[in-house]
Symmetry: C3
Subunit: 347 residues, 3 copies
């Protein structure tokens, strides 16, 4: 795939500043430019790379003013990051997975599958499952009994979507993720634990993306719910009966315990732990590695384990770092005060 700088500029409604016939056959980060590649400059912090890059062309903002000689062709656009995302999108689209149903895939006779599908080698679609149109079911995926997928869903290699769980349209689930494992429910009985059967499911709404090797447990009864537009990173644990509100974003290795409800448009850092049966409001931000042990109000910013207001946490942590010095100050104060007391006594 080869394009000219002029063709790229036309696609992006941009203007060429340099050679419109320069040919481009790859994209690259600005710090690793090479001949034939197109790069972009969105963050002014990286501007110095532009003067030395070996890339053939670079997308920059309309109002970018070089402070040194630029050797590559510039393509000027309104928003370089957005423009580059459009190009990547185009590029990715050209690399779509192969279509068709692989002969080694197993589709149960009672399953229903749509049109324009890709179903990869050794994938299994079990009894009563329904797969919508335009889905990409990669090799070795398992779709359980009576599970349902909307349209244009991508399940990457080795995803397990277990019995009765449902996924909306335009969702992507990355390799190795398990949807619908049993919730962790045990009732003490005599000197052991008896299993509480987990008969609910997981419901994933439209436009959700879930990373690799995550685990999302089915509800004990009812549904574990992942709201529309939610984005989960890798290795995240979502326990039974959790509900995550629309457009909330969660970074890798975070865990949410049973029955907690998380609001909309929250941003939750990596390795955060949230205990069970809590209510987290809308637009809440939680710093990485925090532990949430009680309900959180809308718009709060939380940090610490257990977490409290992030600004207060940071101030307390500054004091924590200074503690050894503070303790020696206190010891000096004690001696001073002892002396003052003795002194008074002696008078």
């Amino acid at each position: 795939m080869v394009f000219t700088a002029g063709a790229v500029a036309a696609l992006l409604n941009g203007a060429v500043d340099g050679n419109p016939d320069a040919t481009l056959n790859d994209v690259c980060p600005i710090e690793h430019g090479r001949a034939g590649a197109l790069t972009f400059l969105a963050n002014p912090k990286y501007a110095h790379h532009l003067y030395t890059t070996a890339a053939t062309a670079a997308i920059v903002a309309n109002d970018f003013v070089p402070t040194a000689k630029v050797h590559c062709t510039l393509i000027r656009v309104k928003d370089p990051y957005a423009a580059f995302a459009i190009l990547l999108e185009q590029y990715a689209r050209m690399k779509r997975p192969a279509a068709g149903i692989h002969p080694t895939a197993f589709i149960d006779a009672t399953a229903t599958v749509g049109n324009d599908l890709f179903i990869g080698a050794h994938a299994v679609i079990d009894s009563g499952a329904m797969v919508g149109n335009g889905c990409h079911i990669h090799p070795q995926v398992y779709i359980g009994r009576n599970a349902k997928l909307g349209n244009n869903v991508t399940l990457h290699a080795g995803v397990r979507l277990l019995d009765d769980c449902t996924v909306g349209s335009n969702c992507t689930i990355h390799a190795g993720t398990v949807i619908g494992s049993d919730g962790f429910g045990f009732a003490p009985s005599d000197n052991a634990y008896g299993k509480v059967p987990q008969i609910g499911n997981v419901v994933i709404h439209d436009d959700v993306e879930i990373g690799a090797n995550c685990t999302i447990d089915r509800a004990t009864m009812g549904s574990t719910v992942i709201g529309k537009g939610v984005k989960l990173d890798n290795l995240i644990q979502v326990a039974h009966n959790v509900e995550i509100g629309e457009h909330t974003v969660i970074a890798a290795q975070t865990g949410i315990a049973g029955s907690t409800k998380i609001g909309r448009r929250c941003m939750i850092g990596g390795q955060v732990g949230i205990v069970g049966h809590l209510k987290i409001g809308d637009n809440v931000k939680i710093a990485a590695q925090s532990g949430i042990g009680s309900d959180v109000k809308d718009n709060a910013l939380m940090q610490g384990s257990p977490a409290f207001d992030a600004g207060n946490y940071r101030r307390a942590y500054v004091s924590f770092r200074g503690l050894p010095k503070t303790v020696s100050i206190i010891n000096e104060l004690r001696m001073d005060v002892e002396e003052l007391k003795k002194d008074r006594h002696d008078r």
Copy 2:
């Protein structure tokens, strides 16, 4: 599957308070009741839902006294939670996986399998492996060479039970979990690390349940041991040569480093880290996100990273939250003391 309230009451040795002929075809949480569904009230905190629920019937305690008008049929029993677990168990049993051995499963000629099995599509049972009676081996499971399963074991989709590892009877292992990966053992040599071969195995005793996408490493020599009745949640790491005592329960995303021995009936929270070569006593409780860096005695309650007594941790943490204020008090004290000293000096 439709039951009457009277039939459910009979099954549970309960009494009907309302319409014994009310028909029930589903179960639901009390806050999401709907017509035709049966719910239960175990926690008095949720009693208010009972007066407004659309559920057709509810299981309540014998001594429950409504404080408002109840519209649904009540089924009175001694212990509503236990009664409901019995029903869920019945319900789950009716949804057993299909029996039989799928034609796409591969069973090595030298493997031995019992009776009343389910072996799903694309499962692989390798040479010398032994599978007991009544096991459910879900699609895409791998059972390694010379691995052994007792009776009534369920391995969910994509479980990997690797060479030489053994699982007792009545165990359940959830999707994507790996049993028997190599321990993390490397010996520094010159300027690199040489691998220490890991030739031991993993031994899982009876009545164990292990969540999804966990990793349990084989021993360097000897066995990594999971005791009878242990329950592990999702995404848990158990390193080589670890031993976990009977009926210990561990929440999601916890990690236990090599050769640590954990006692019986411990309760370990989520995202806990335990360093290697430690001895953790019986009945120990560890709060979520704690880091255990030294041996722990029986019955201890631990918190913090590094962890110490949980009560002391909480008191220290309260002081931590107040540190910025404490520091400003100290600064005031310093000024006061300076003034007192100066004052004394001036006299």
Copy 3:
């Protein structure tokens, strides 16, 4: 496989102190000795086991002097741990996986595979992929389109090496690990998040070992890079565009956010979190559960969340544990100072 103590000593350039004809058919840890087994004593802390072990023979250091009667045959060598690793290596080599390509494996007609391969049941090697000589591709592995493996690579059961990713020679990747899942890249647009396509790959250099159920995301553009000789434990998250330097070792459940560069020969503990876009120097050591929030210089030792110098952290933490007492000292001081002030005022 049966050996005599004399044969083992000859293999290790050691000397027999006892019965050279003693027969050995197994290896064992020193605390679990049994007749017929060979054990070793490397750590003097475990020397007391030697006097009571039921093992038939033990490897000890040349200069080991027993302080009680030893019943087993001793094999004296220069470095018992290294000698034992050599034996384990021999032992492991005798247990190599079966060779050959399983009839249920699917290899695309456009893929290229080398000689002396093992390719297990239901493995999938997709179009354009290249697999070198002597590789062991275990059952249910997926090798994506145009992915490349060097020679002598072992991919354990259920590994997913996705499109365009490359693995050097002599690497081992454990079961369930995902290489090449999409980076977590989303651009806010209107009231939702738009996906930033991830078109880069993952490049793994020679002699790397990666544990079970890890996730290593592909770069947005360019490559996520795992340097030569790196060792990663289980359940580790490596985000898009991360680079890890040669011979760095990382313990389980650690997560590294996007675009961070980690130096060479670092040792990073378990459950560590490192935020994105940082530069971590060479020979850095990071304590378990730490959170790294800013660049780290060569040779630093870090602890805490957020982390700072480990020595200072430990001193601050000692003060933290004593905080409730410190606060009561401050309260006493306040009273003393108040009294001194009052006293002065009264004069």
